[in-house]
Symmetry: C2
Subunit: 333 residues, 2 copies
């Protein structure tokens, strides 16, 4: 490692995060399951396959349009399980609270987490509470872990040329909403986090016969990072058509003002599915039945004619969609 200290970019989900994980953490944590670096670990327990995942949430601000850190922690863990083809079942909930934090706000967050879990049909079954001195944390951090039963086998190795790439709805809503709040940008329009439990849709998907090869929720690093990870280590490429990518006018406007590419902005209630072309229209029709995925669109396809992720722009040019060096804004989740 060149740098001798941790920087914010090490936690961004970009290239520096990957280097930290690959060069330092995997040097010691060498379990073959962990080394796959998937959203959830796949465990053989009692001869059936379980998915197991964990994430810490440090989002700032802790309340934002469309959600709060409690809802986000539940959704994020549900979504990681769902992206592994699992039916999310059990969640653990661990709090690190800064001394002096408001009990009223804590109650709002606990209530929100509880409501979200109930709506999604998952059970919060264990937890922990730690308090640190004032100034030693920032209000509240939450770590959730989750267990689910794997129902559908998904694996990036199944991705093949000709597969279609589907996004379940508009992109960039969460990241731009957090940015607007944090930086007091006072951007107007429909800026609301899309934070939602994806199993409301995926539990239904997994009982149907769709030839889906891979799924990923485009959180930190956005659609660009999720697609780069999908084909990392393969000789395949993905071509995205800019004009097919759904985006709310308010988010598009905000990105233009801020000079940001929406493909790199975080989402918290969207998934990308890469599936057999033959099933793509039927799958799209199925997705449109659910409010969470009613704006689903085919945005591109897998190809062996290109290497890496590419964007065909509205004016017809082609540009590479590279893995991000570092997220622009820390603590978006």
């Amino acid at each position: 490692m060149e740098q001798k200290i941790i920087t914010l970019s090490h936690g961004s989900g970009g290239l520096l995060s990957w280097r930290l994980i690959k060069e330092l953490i995997l040097k010691y944590f060498s379990d073959p399951i962990l080394k796959r670096l998937e959203d959830s670990a796949e465990l053989a327990v009692n001869s059936k396959n379980l998915a197991f995942t964990t994430d810490s949430y440090v989002v700032n601000p802790i309340f934002f349009p469309g959600g709060d850190i409690g809802k986000l922690a539940i959704c994020g863990t549900i979504n990681d399980l769902a992206m592994k083809g699992a039916i999310p079942q059990f969640i653990s909930f661990s709090l690190i609270i800064e001394e002096g934090f408001s009990l009223y706000e804590l109650e709002r967050i606990i209530k929100s987490a509880s409501t979200t879990a109930k709506k999604a049909g998952v059970r919060i079954v264990c937890g922990d509470t730690k308090v640190v001195e004032k100034g030693k944390a920032d209000k509240l951090f939450i770590t959730t872990s989750g267990i689910g039963r794997i129902k559908k086998i998904l694996n990036k190795e199944y991705i093949k040329p000709g597969d279609k790439v589907i996004i379940s709805g508009t992109i960039g809503d969460h990241g731009i909403t957090i940015m607007n709040e944090r930086l007091n940008l006072n951007l107007k329009g429909d800026l609301t986090s899309d934070c939602a439990p994806l199993n409301l849709v995926t539990n239904r998907i997994f009982t149907e016969e769709f030839d889906i090869h891979f799924m990923r929720d485009p959180t930190r690093g956005g659609v660009a990072s999720a697609l780069n990870e999908a084909i990392d280590g393969t000789r395949l490429g993905i071509l995205i058509h800019e004009e097919w990518v759904p985006i709310k006018p308010a988010v598009k406007g905000a990105c233009e003002i801020l000079g940001l590419d929406p493909l790199y902005i975080a989402n918290e209630g969207k998934f990308i599915a890469i599936l057999n072309s033959a099933d793509s229209e039927r799958f799209l029709h199925f997705l449109k039945k659910f409010s969470l995925s009613r704006n689903a669109r085919i945005i591109g396809e897998v190809t062996d004619k290109l290497s890496g992720v590419w964007l065909k722009t509205i004016i017809g040019g082609m540009r590479p969609v590279l893995q991000l060096e570092a997220e622009g804004l820390p603590r978006i989740c």
Copy 2:
């Protein structure tokens, strides 16, 4: 709640922690499994029973004689599973790192966690890394969750009058060690944390035929809190004999100097077992075969002649061992 803000005592493991959990958190998180408030949740998965647990670690300092926050996070989660009669199998490992933290120290901690997990035969299978701005966390917080297969059914409801109370070794080592480091007390003698993975002993215990009713690791709040929890909600009492309680001279001396009761000091590599009196001597003999429990002792018995936990002092008096209002020192684990 009388207080409108979170205080350090809410995270102490004492009465205020219990009130926060019972009055606020359980008001919303109402799952029957969570409500048992055990060290691990018991889940029926694929018709077999799994234990599932989580804990956040915020210990200060992060390096201490006998361990560090990485070793502690692995041991703590293993031990919570073990106390539920489970064989610990899988662990998740989530980091919240303060910007500017040393990569060298991070590597030491990751290495230590890895070594501990390997020694204990558990697999670290998933993780997460978040970085927050300088001053928004204190170096490093770790949250681990664990999954284990329940091998031995233990339940406080099985505790009955006449049962013996066994401690697996000397008490107070971890808490006094942390205190000595944090407060720069410069106390001399053998002050080393007992931080250890208890499954090195419990995995063996659970394959034998011992009529054990209940186990608990006396962490925050020490032996006093663990015993109070064991009989909470029952009409039973526990009588502890002070002279039978194993304690290192250095720890005893430190407690005398600081005016602390070692029964309330945290341990991180000890367990309490409450078992059928008929099996107690044979069990003790078994425990002495393992280095982790070679100083195991019977320290008391369950009785229906008393209510609550009582100590028979060395000079022959009797005093109640009450549930602690709040831990004296925050961030011991």
